[in-house]
């Protein structure tokens, strides 16, 4: 096996490395009784993972690249592949944590057979909403002022705009949610306006 083949294989194994790092970091944080959100922990693992994986790739291949330009291109290539795969790992982990389909599947798995209304009692819209609001507040994407939720940091909001744009590009009708919410707000505003 050439060192370049080893470089590509190690790079392709990035998700496995991040998973191993994730297992270690979760236990390490527990030792110190630190409890950041699960999403933040995965992001931290992906960022920290640059160091050990970068060092490994340096040893197996990058230090053997004899031209400066070749070395720079190799580093850029490794960064692109590593971050794309780290992002993919983040999504797979997120599915295990936040995906409604996986949670519903898990609920059915634990009882083997369930009535639809019993399923909604075990995992209904209110619980789904509470979980998401809790995560958005914990990651400071929204904040609570009085009894109203307002936007805080804009990262998730900007990602939402990108996703909505991709949906329009693909011709997928964007869900009713946005429009329904706007209608709700308008209806509420109208009912709040008292006649003079």
């Amino acid at each position: 096996m050439t060192h370049f083949t080893a470089f590509l294989i190690f790079l392709a194994l990035t998700p496995a490395f991040i998973f191993a790092l994730h297992c270690v970091i979760i236990r390490f944080l527990r030792l110190f009784n630190l409890r950041p959100t699960e999403q933040l922990t995965v992001l931290a693992c992906a960022v920290i993972g640059h160091l050990p994986i970068g060092a490994l790739l340096w040893v197996v291949h990058i230090r053997h690249v004899y031209t400066q330009a070749g070395g720079i291109y190799t580093v850029i290539y490794a960064l692109l592949v590593y971050n794309a795969l780290a992002y993919s790992y983040f999504h797979v982990f997120n599915m295990s944590d936040t995906a409604r389909r996986i949670r519903i599947l898990y609920e059915i798995y634990t009882v083997n057979k369930i009535k639809v209304h019993a399923l909604t009692a075990r995992y209904g819209a209110k619980e789904m909403l509470d979980n998401r609001l809790e995560r958005l507040l914990a990651t400071r994407q929204i904040k609570l002022i009085g009894n109203r939720y307002v936007l805080d940091k804009k990262l998730i909001h900007d990602i939402s705009l990108l996703i909505a744009w991709l949906g329009r590009l693909l011709g997928i009708p964007y869900p009713e949610a946005k429009h329904r919410a706007a209608d709700t707000k308008q209806a509420k505003t109208a009912s709040d306006v008292k006649p003079q």
């Binding site: 050439t2 083949t5 590509l8 790079l11 998973f19 297992c23 979760i26 527990r30 190799t74 850029i76 290539y77 692109l80 592949v81 794309a84 795969l85 992002y87 993919s88 797979v92 599915m95 295990s96 944590d97 995906a99 409604r100 389909r101 996986i102 949670r103 519903i104 599947l105 898990y106 059915i108 798995y109 083997n112 057979k113 009535k115 639809v116 399923l119 909604t120 819209a125 619980e127 789904m128 909403l129 979980n131 994407q141 929204i142 109203r148 939720y149 936007l151 804009k154 998730i156 909001h157 939402s160 996703i163 693909l170 011709g171 997928i172 869900p175 949610a177 946005k178 919410a181 509420k188």
Partner: protein
């Protein structure tokens, strides 16, 4: 490593993405995961097969052997292409199935400085919007089946649920909240 690796990977991904947009707009596929897999993974794999089975033995002798790609160049291009494609494919469900997290963020953003009350948000996201379409997805994907009023899990569904349970067990985490 040469800049051509980046250029070819980018062209390959852009070609797959364009094909994906065209297919989705012309005829929205019924089985989207399969269509995505065919577009981003199977279709690009035809190029090296063509290169080794048709180009090298029949066309290269006429053109004097140019252009030529080594196995390493193909591997580099495909690793980059598949990494980016995987990232896109895993992001795709958020576009189609409407991630409630993203939708909440849009709603709150749209409300501006006035913000939204809890009940306003809850009114928008009922069981009909959040739960029932996802149950239907599981039925369509053959991960669950409906018999009368009951929903049960299929063997395929059990395998998938088991995988996610094991991932979280290895991480030392309880089952996801959803």
């Amino acid at each position: 490593m040469t800049p051509y690796i980046f250029l070819i990977s980018l062209i390959l991904f852009a070609a797959c993405f364009t094909a994906h947009v065209i297919v989705w707009r012309v005829r929205y596929p019924k089985n989207r995961p399969k269509a995505l897999f065919l577009t981003f993974a199977v279709a690009p794999a035809v190029i090296p097969v063509f290169f080794y089975a048709v180009y090298l033995p029949f066309i290269a002798p006429i053109t004097g052997g140019a252009p030529y790609f080594t196995v390493y160049e193909f591997l580099s291009v495909y690793l980059l292409h598949y990494s980016i494609s995987l990232a896109y494919i895993l992001s795709y469900p958020a576009i189609e199935a409407v991630s409630p997290t993203l939708a909440i963020s849009l709603l709150v953003g749209k409300a501006g400085a006035d913000g939204l009350e809890y009940d306003d948000i809850l009114l928008t996201f009922g069981d009909d919007f959040l739960l029932k379409p996802r149950i239907q997805d599981l039925l369509d994907a053959g991960l669950a089946e409906k018999t009368g009023n009951y929903i049960s899990i299929t063997n395929r569904g059990k395998r998938l649920a088991w995988c996610f349970i094991q991932i979280r067990r290895l991480l030392g985490l309880p089952a996801g909240k959803g």
